[in-house]
Symmetry: C2
Subunit: 248 residues, 2 copies
DNA sequence: CTTGCAGGATTGTTGAACAATCTCTACTCT
DNA sequence: AGAGTAGAGATTGTTCAACAATCCTGCAAG
């Protein structure tokens, strides 16, 4: 860690800045030289699925998509694999790939995991409070803000996106790459579930304020209260989705 | 198993049996027609990695493996993708696939998740105790038994396998497919970590008895005590691995 | 109404080919 | 001599065309 800083600026900050910059550049590079074709195709498909253009249950034809996406069948199948791992597609042997159709049991399973993981992250924050700068909460503020803006504009899917970003960033506070990966998959599946709703307003609107309340508790370092709030939040959200299923 | 009994047996049980049988048949079918080539190649590689024939850091050459496994490059790459998703391989763009080298941070990350998930499963058992037949604990007994047998034979890697099976089956009690998938990946990565030990005896032996103790608490329906034991178990196991890293 | 059987369509797999990138060696220049 | 550089060789990324295996559809027969 320590270095041969010969200048008179505080070495710690200087070094930390450099480290942060190095990480940033590395991340940018990794983002740029992605496996080009396969990941680019996966990006397009991912958006089509999460935005609802491809409904749950829909089949994705290989030959059709090779023409649309301008990639070979092999590359397309690699993109399929990527999305399969994210839970956005399922393979049926010799029958093709489909957008998964989730049901009530999946809702229960999904929220069971969300509760365990998210609540534990928030509870665990109290133990590493000192090393957690306030700037780490910045992305959460941005999510609440954009959720509120989207609500004003009436674009409820965007509200859902922002709310999901809030929880993704909340999980990110734990600095656990494996937890981040798991969360990414869970939220992708949650997206699929949202499509059971005709009008997603009552599915997203109530949670804007509740996210903000949790965020304020985090700022006040009331981690236990925040965890309790979050738990109730997830229970209610699950109830809402299950109700939407029954009313469907 | 069940039959289309027109006799006077209670219909409910009859129907439930039929349902169970249908699920069993479906599972068997799904297990049989696996994606043949790609999954078969992945099976071979998976065993090579988990059994240590391919050490962490080793590179897997494509042309070499196409000859050994008798599959085409495209199919081999699909097998690589499968194992990448399990955490047993990592891709480095334009450089190839490698067996990952995990370090202390991975140990901490991994065990953090194991503690949260496994402990929560055990705690949650108390709420669904009535619907949990004693036969569900049968696989756990088998794991303890085979661990003990392997210890007598001195085959410590087999002890590790049995111990991991115990925890996999423990998680399985939650009946959560997503949790099962996550666990499968975590345990695969744990396997990679075991290879840092020259002599794996002290890494596995102490935990045979501790698994049995936990199992006995489960049978006695002392779920809180079992959860506490499990928590300590995982803390100690993490310590042992970290110590092995430092002594390496 | 169910069962069995073509025929057509789709997926699974292969092999070869070319482009892009990395690694290593050997060379040049100071 | 040592550092930097250019290029050859090897490996990976991607595409294409073809064939084998499997699934789905519709129709005929019982």
């Amino acid at each position: 860690m320590s270095d041969d800083a010969k200048v008179s600026t505080p070495q710690r900050t200087d070094d930390e800045d450099r480290q942060a910059w190095l990480r940033g550049v590395a991340a940018d590079m990794a983002r740029l030289d992605r496996s080009s074709s396969a990941e680019r195709a996966a990006d397009v498909l991912r958006r089509s699925i999460t935005e609802g253009a491809l409904r749950p249950g829909a089949q994705l034809s290989e030959i059709e998509l090779t023409e649309v996406l301008q990639v070979s069948r092999n590359t397309l199948r690699e993109a399929f694999r990527l999305l399969t791992h994210e839970g956005l597609l399922v393979y049926k042997l010799h029958r093709g790939v489909f957008v998964p159709e989730l049901d009530e049991r999946d809702v229960v399973d999904l929220f069971r995991l969300r509760r365990v993981l998210e609540v534990d992250v928030v509870r665990g924050l109290s133990e590493r409070d000192p090393e957690l700068p306030a700037s780490r909460l910045e992305p959460l503020h941005a999510d609440v803000e954009s959720a509120r803006a989207a609500a004003l504009a009436g674009t409820w899917p965007a509200v859902g996106t922002a709310n999901m970003g809030f929880h993704r960033h909340l999980i990110g506070l734990a600095d656990s790459p494996r937890l981040d990966a798991i969360t990414s998959r869970l939220l992708a599946e949650l997206r699929l579930l949202f499509h059971v709703m005709a009008t997603p307003r009552e599915l997203h609107e109530p949670y804007i304020a509740r996210n903000q309340a949790i965020l304020e508790l985090l700022e006040a370092r009331e981690y236990e209260d925040a965890a309790d709030d979050l738990h109730r939040y997830l229970v209610d959200s699950e109830k809402g989705l299950l109700a939407a299923f029954k009313a469907r």
